[in-house]
């Protein structure tokens, strides 16, 4: 069960993001929300079977009881419905690191995979919030642990402010993909989340980007992939900023690839159930890249 955690302070657009993800869902999905009322239990979504379950976590308690309830909710959803995906929208005062810690003991047994943590900030108030000195660690924890940060309500501020926000965000998170959005409208890239620190990625503010996600059923040829890395570096396919993969190789091993703006490396990886490769960039030739990776 793949999990996306959508975090953000009140008013940043968390619930809008959840709704957007639900609308674009292509398979059965469950949702754990902070408050039903904000999302609205969409009877149509439930009837279609796209959303198999929506569980409300009591927002009245933001301390340890929430952790217990979260664990129980995730276990029950997995056991009863076994959806492909789970979205968790915790309270805006919750810390994503605490959610990850809470899920860690049941990860293996329940087959959980945290795909991504999406942090949402309000472009209009972020800088004043972060500089006020009034917010507790929950605010920065949401920034530090996000894989993708949506700088939402970008239409309310100018380009200079967006740059200032990005600069401020980089103090807390050097690796997250930053996307400026309005109403959280964007195609969220698939990601493979790993524990640990990712390479420094800087993607310029843009509403659009391209991504290519592949799940090859046959093993990946390491030599071929290394050649592709060099070709990407030379710009053969266009602008590819970031690429990542965890995959089974033709010589029977499991490997991890990491590419960041021309620099790449390969490392052994303990185990991979399914192979996955992801490429993110702007205006790049996805078809040519895909064909090349398939040896065509």
């Amino acid at each position: 069960m793949k999990i996306k955690i959508i975090s953000g302070f009140l008013g940043a657009g968390k619930t809008t993001c959840v709704k957007n993800v639900l609308k674009k869902a292509d398979g059965n999905m469950a949702v754990i929300v902070n408050e039903f009322g904000d999302v609205g239990i969409d009877a149509e979504l439930l009837a279609k079977g796209d959303v198999v379950d929506m569980v409300e976590l009591p927002s009245g308690c933001i301390c340890c009881t929430l952790k217990n309830d979260l664990i129980s909710a995730v276990k029950e959803i997995k056991t009863k419905f076994n959806p492909k995906r789970l979205i968790i929208e915790p309270s805006g005062l919750a810390v994503p690191s605490g959610i990850l810690e809470a899920l860690e003991p049941i990860e293996e047994e329940y087959g959980l995979e945290v795909e991504a943590i999406i942090g949402i900030i309000d472009a209009d108030s972020f800088l004043s919030n972060i500089h006020s000195g009034l917010f507790g660690d929950f605010y920065t924890d949401q920034l530090t642990n996000s894989d993708i940060i949506l700088i939402n309500k970008a239409d309310l501020v100018n380009e200079k402010t967006i740059r200032a926000i990005e600069e401020e965000l980089r103090k807390y998170n050097s690796h997250a993909i930053l996307l400026a959005t309005v109403n959280c409208e964007t195609d969220l890239p698939d990601l493979i989340r790993e524990h640990g620190i990712e390479h420094n990625v800087h993607i310029h503010f843009d509403h659009d980007f391209d991504s290519l996600a592949l799940t090859p059923e046959i093993a990946v040829n390491h030599q071929l992939l290394a050649e592709v890395m060099e070709e990407m570096k030379a710009g053969k396919y266009g602008n590819i900023y970031r690429a990542k993969g965890i995959y089974n190789t033709t010589d029977g091993k499991c490997e991890k690839m990491d590419y960041t703006q021309g620099n790449y490396d390969f490392e052994p990886f303990p185990k991979c159930a399914d192979s996955k490769l992801i490429f993110i960039g702007k205006d790049f030739d996805r078809k040519a890249l895909e064909n090349r990776l398939q040896g065509k």
């Binding site: 302070f9 009140l10 008013g11 902070n34 408050e35 039903f36 009322g37 409300e56 009591p58 927002s59 009245g60 308690c61 933001i62 301390c63 340890c64 009881t65 952790k67 217990n68 309830d69 664990i71 129980s72 309270s91 805006g92 005062l93 810390v95 809470a102 003991p105 049941i106 006020s132 000195g133 009034l134 917010f135 507790g136 660690d137 929950f138």
Partner: protein
Amino acid sequence: MAALKEFKPEMTGLERALAALTYKKPDRVPVASLVCGASRRVLGVTYDKWSRDAELIAQSMLQTHQIMNNEFDIFVMLVDLSVEAETFGQSVIYPIESTAYSDPNNPIIKTVDDYRRIQPVNPRETGRMKMVIDATRMIAKEKAKEYGVCGFVYCPLGVIGAMRGHERMFVDCIKHKDAVIEACELMTPSLIEYAVAQVEAGAQAIVMDTLYASASIMSPKMWEAIEAPFAKRIADAIKAAGGAVVLHNCGGGIYFDVQEKYTAPIAISHAYPAADCKTWEEHVAKWGKKIVSIGALDPANTGMFWSEERVMEEARKFIEMYKSCDGGFILSTGCEFPPNGSLINAMAIIKAAKAYGQYE
């Protein structure tokens, strides 16, 4: 696992607790039971019934004590964090097998103006606050001669958060601070009355939950500006009534220094080191001999994941860390024991105190 020592008690639970709280080494490390909602399973009642009945609360805690060989030393009258809000008129949801909580879709404080409309309540006569006072009385009657009995009160920001939504209240603390302060002012006399009533019912101490005074949630500057003066008033009233003040805060990085300044507690129940300490070792060195710690086993792991042996081992580590504090340590979970957690593990905490917590 280290070899288990046999323990022969030489003190009552109350004597043990008092010794720890005054830095005189007791016969062993005392144990505070935060087996609160979990105690309903010993009596065999559903949570929704338990949460609303003083008799069921008292009987379940007494039976839990009995099933644990009367070996935990301190009772804590924590029912849940919606008790006070409910008495102030907030609607509450009572799941059958999970903790009761304020209905997030129906907050009683809907607008900033509603902060100013909070009406005082008489906790001795009204709602679930009366229920807790009654349950405290029943427990104290049976146990207060030989065991510690701590009442419980949620401080104003926590109660207001339960009536407004914690996130919305946080935003209001920034944008409409005066309104939130006014709400605290309107609410505090009732919370004082509640705490004092529990002392009069027989509780020797009152646990004040100051959840917001932690680095996880808000800066010390914000807490001092808003809740601190009211926490002080509640603490002073408890002491004037003859009770002792214990704080509870399971947030990350709680402000020991600021809270000491305003409430001068004899102990703090906590789950993480203080905000000015990076590790537990640092916390023990800095605070261990100044304010007694009650804690700090991770509740979710203790109740839901660890084996009995692991619980004992983790408890042993805390006991060893605090051994240099002249007896000033009480073992417990850092927050309420998970209501659906393993009671075997709750008992393992006591086993650990007996096996490893004897002072030379």
